[in-house]
């Protein structure tokens, strides 16, 4: 099999054979986006579940359907759903506070701590947006999807995706300026 063949063609030939390539190609962006929605503590679990569901779904599709997949948008349809479920079960469960952390020591720990603080700040700001805007902004600016891909992932028109992104950014600007006055 030639290396140049596209991922969907290889998946269509043999899902299991090509699936590791899909994981390697998309896991970083998927994890980054999911982390913006659910935070560092659960990002790995949610991303893992999304990829496992994607694998299961691929096995239920016929070859033509796989060949026509827009992989990125399709993965995000799965991941957004899981993030939504995560938020729902989360709100029903009492929140527990983790007191101890298993973290690497030294510079790495310091970097990671800064990372976590920054992420938490953004996670809170993003929480002030409507779900549609939050999803659109993260997919556009954290994950780097095109408007067309965002539209496909959220099953909305491209125009709406564009509006969601620009209104979401405007809302974030407002939230940040209010933070400044506090």
């Amino acid at each position: 099999m030639a290396k140049a063949t596209g991922l969907v063609d290889r998946l269509a030939v043999d899902v299991d054979w090509a699936f590791p390539d899909l994981v390697l190609a998309y896991q970083d962006r998927l994890y980054s986006g999911v982390r913006s929605f659910v935070g560092s503590a659960d990002a790995e679990d949610v991303t893992q579940e999304a990829l496992i569901r994607a694998h299961k779904a691929l096995h239920s599709y016929d070859e033509d359907r796989i060949r026509q997949l827009q992989v990125s948008a399709w993965l995000w349809t799965i991941a957004i759903n899981l993030c939504r479920n995560w938020a729902r079960t989360r709100s029903r469960r009492p929140q527990t506070v983790q007191l101890t952390f298993d973290r690497p020591s030294g510079d790495e720990a310091a970097d990671e701590a800064i990372d976590v603080v920054m992420l938490d700040g953004w996670k809170q700001r993003l929480a002030g947006l409507s779900e549609a805007q939050r999803v659109a902004v993260v997919l556009r600016h954290v994950v780097g999807l095109s408007y067309r891909e965002i539209a496909a992932a959220t099953e909305r028109p491209v125009g709406t995706a564009k509006t969601d992104v620009s209104r979401g950014l405007a809302a974030l600007r407002k939230i940040i300026s209010e933070e400044g006055t506090l």
Binding site: Y31, R35, H55, W122, H141, G144
Partner: protein
């Protein structure tokens, strides 16, 4: 301001932890994995994926194995063999027969695959020359190419390339050193020194004075011939001239 926000959001992009990749590939059984199993002459690495067993190597080759079979940043993951294969692998190593174990020969040429499949037909404890394999797969001129295809056998022991020797009848070389080949043959009940001694005396075939059939020296039919009826033969032509016909089991005619 909007640009600043966009840039800060872009900075949230990160890399997934290694454990994520690993756990997804384990859960979906789509990664490349490896396990260590006891072989006939020492521990063996067995590399496997959903497509089947893609590699076998002596345990001492672990570093090279991981290097060769890493896909990008992804090295094979140590795992227990899938339960249904555990018994099959043990049985294959015990009996010297592959059985129904799935072997993944993706990436090999048709010629290489034909050589390896033919090798599977050689019974445990028997030796055939490279030229025999070449003739049997319909490429009588390709003796050297057979040798190099066997040398690149990704799943030695399970595909018994140790049962193919030099055209002069000696045991010959092995990808993991000649001693391992001799040990594997010994474990199957064949004495490699006896094979080499006979070959060095010029014996290529054994004929039976009672049945007038001639065989490769290690064919089970040859080994049943009583000492008093054994006729040592140097060439197939000499055998035919002396009135022998080729054994239908080991097909020595194919070796010329």
């Amino acid at each position: 301001m909007t640009d600043d926000i966009a840039r800060e959001l872009e900075a949230l992009a990160t890399t997934a932890p290694d454990s994520l990749t690993r756990n997804v590939l384990i859960a979906t059984r789509t990664g490349r994995f490896y396990a260590t199993v006891g072989g006939p002459t020492g521990d063996l690495l067995i590399g496997w994926s959903s497509a089947g067993i893609y590699a076998v190597a002596p345990i001492g080759e672990l570093a090279r194995f991981l290097e060769v079979y890493s896909a990008g940043p992804l090295a094979p993951i140590p795992q227990q063999l899938p339960t249904p294969w555990q018994r099959q692998v043990a049985a294959a190593l015990e009996s010297g027969k592959l059985g129904r174990l799935p072997v993944d020969l993706t990436g090999l040429t048709e010629f290489q695959q034909a050589v390896l499949r033919k090798t599977l037909e050689i019974p445990p404890g028997q030796l055939r020359p490279y030229g025999w394999v070449a003739r049997e797969i319909g490429k009588p001129g390709a003796t050297r190419a057979v040798g190099s295809a066997l040398n690149k056998n990704p799943v030695p022991v399970l595909i018994p390339c140790h049962r193919v020797g030099r055209s002069d009848g000696t045991v010959g070389r092995y990808a993991y050193g000649p001693e391992m080949k001799r040990d594997l043959l010994r474990a199957e009940g064949l004495d490699p020194d006896e094979v080499d001694d006979a070959a060095e005396r010029g014996v290529r075939f054994i004929g039976s004075a009672t049945t007038n059939i001639y065989c490769h020296p290690t064919c089970h039919n040859a080994r049943r011939i009583k000492q008093t009826n054994r006729v040592e033969l140097r060439t197939a032509a000499a055998a035919r001239k002396a009135g022998f016909r080729a054994c239908l089991v080991c097909r020595p005619a194919a070796a010329a």
